[in-house]
Amino acid sequence: MTAAVELRDVAKEFPGGARAVDGVSLSVEAGTVFGVVGHSGAGKSTLLRLVNGLEEPTSGSVLLDGQDISALGERRLRPLRREIGMIFQQFNLFRSRTVLGNVLYPLRLAGMGRAAARARAEETLEFVGLAGHGGRYPEQLSGGQRQRVGIARALATRPKVLLCDEATSALDPQTTGEVLALLGRVNRELGVTILLITHEMEVVRTLCDRVAVMEDGKVVESGEVYEVFARPRHATTAAFVRSERHSEPDAPLMERLRSRHPGRLVTLPVTDGSPALEGLSELLQLHGVDFALVHGGVGEVRGRPLGSVTLELRGRPAAVEAVVAGLRVPGLAEAGAR
């Protein structure tokens, strides 16, 4: 099966020497949601703009449905862009047009007749939950509503792929949730392949199937979202997923915990590969050790548990040692007492 979007060793160098994208290869399967995370300036936007040919790669190739678009040239790219929707952090709506006018624009551009375009635009507005708002102007809408218009405008021509450039970064948490839920529907109900870039792990956690982490123009790590969250290999990835792993305590917090809790402190990562808490209770009973939960929590990433808990073990020193040693058995191997 050919990927909906594939990048092969793509590089983009800007005049002046900045290498914004540096040898990136990735593949987005049709019907999936692929996220790219990275700090500001990592080259995420440039990467996204390479996919619909807004930027031409310096080297490497960009394939859409197996077709190489990297050497097509502006004129032949234009019809292809109608099959790829794009939404933006700042929404980029036409302020001079009504909501309906915004959604009509790409349809009329594609040569659709007036009546058919209107029907399609209204249908799309209904899908994004803005039926009846067609006559309003963008400045009369809230941020979340504006992004819905952006999504409707991007989807009007029934593209197979949707590119999202920090689509929720300008929104508050509640509105972010609503827009993410809508994007989820776009993927599931319409079968649209989504390639999104973000610096918010929340977006990746709730929406993406796979994720790639970018730094200095390179992809430093990529994989299935749960695997990357549960077992990050690169330092940048670890920093990104840290907050989503329900706060393994850092050094200062550990100091404070120690000052409050005289017993032995152990931090157990909770992933679906480590049934830590079940094995634990037997181990504690066996050695007659008591415990208190002092920090941490367990959340869910793509329907699977992920988090960490920090426990204070109380009991005779030898018994506590035995428990800690017991925690190092396979399955709890990485549980490492601290």
Binding site: N52, R75, R81, N92, L93, S96, Y105, R153, T157
Partner: protein, 220 residues
């Protein structure tokens, strides 16, 4: 000799009509010309939608030559060309020619700077939908910049009333001519006062109209 007001009022009315005619025709012509030049200037700039260093430099230089020239000098300097184009160097139509030339380049700069102020993101959005350069210019940039463009054109309209009065003093007709021949040459203060009031009224209505239209376009 003082003006005979019974015969003078019709003259004021005629002159006002001439001024309005000169200004409106010039505004129409220079808006069309200025839009064309301004759009070209915008499109051909580096990183623009149809970059051309040569065209951009030629137009830019032309504007920079014409714009600093005081209008009274421009009338005189353009006089031979005016005679060639219009057939005469005096009268209302003869005044329209140099006014249009100067205003066209003024409008061109107004158009260019207002187009530059349009958010690049909107252009990017249109590109991502597959719109070509010409379509983006006409269906995105001009509508998006329309509010400030109308205000810019209002500014030009007010300047044109000023220009028309200047043109009037050197044989161009209109209120300026009236002020010159009756008010200034015959030392008639009352005529002077009337012409000044007429000019103020014209400028005020132009500004009012411009504000009204731009508010309608900007919806605020």
């Amino acid at each position: 000799m003082k003006a005979d007001w019974s015969t003078f009022w019709p003259k004021v009315l005629d002159a006002t009509g001439e001024t309005v005619y000169m200004v409106l025709i010039t505004l129409a012509l220079s808006t069309v010309g200025g839009l064309a030049v301004g759009l070209t200037l915008y499109a051909t700039r580096k990183g623009g939608v149809l970059p051309s260093r040569f065209v951009h430099a030629v137009l830019g230089t032309l504007i920079n030559i014409i714009r600093p020239v005081p209008f009274i000098i421009a009338i005189v300097a353009l006089a031979p060309v005016t005679r060639g184009v219009v057939g005469t160097m005096i009268g209302t139509n003869a005044a329209i020619f140099p006014m249009t030339v100067v205003a066209t380049f003024g409008v061109a700069r107004i158009v260019e700077s207002n187009l530059l102020a349009v958010e690049p993101g909107v252009i990017e959005a249109a590109r991502s939908m597959g719109a070509g350069p010409l379509r983006i210019l006409l269906t995105v940039l001009v509508p998006e910049a329309l509010g400030p463009l109308v205000l810019g054109l209002t500014f030009m309209l007010v300047a044109l009333i000023d220009f028309s009065a200047v043109a009037g003093t050197v044989g161009g007709g209109g209120v300026g001519n009236l002020a010159m021949t009756y008010g200034y040459l015959r030392f008639d203060t009352s005529v002077m006062v009337v012409t000044v009031l007429v000019l103020i009224a014209l400028v005020q209505s132009a500004q009012l109209l411009g504000n009204l239209v731009s508010r309608k376009v900007l919806r605020r």
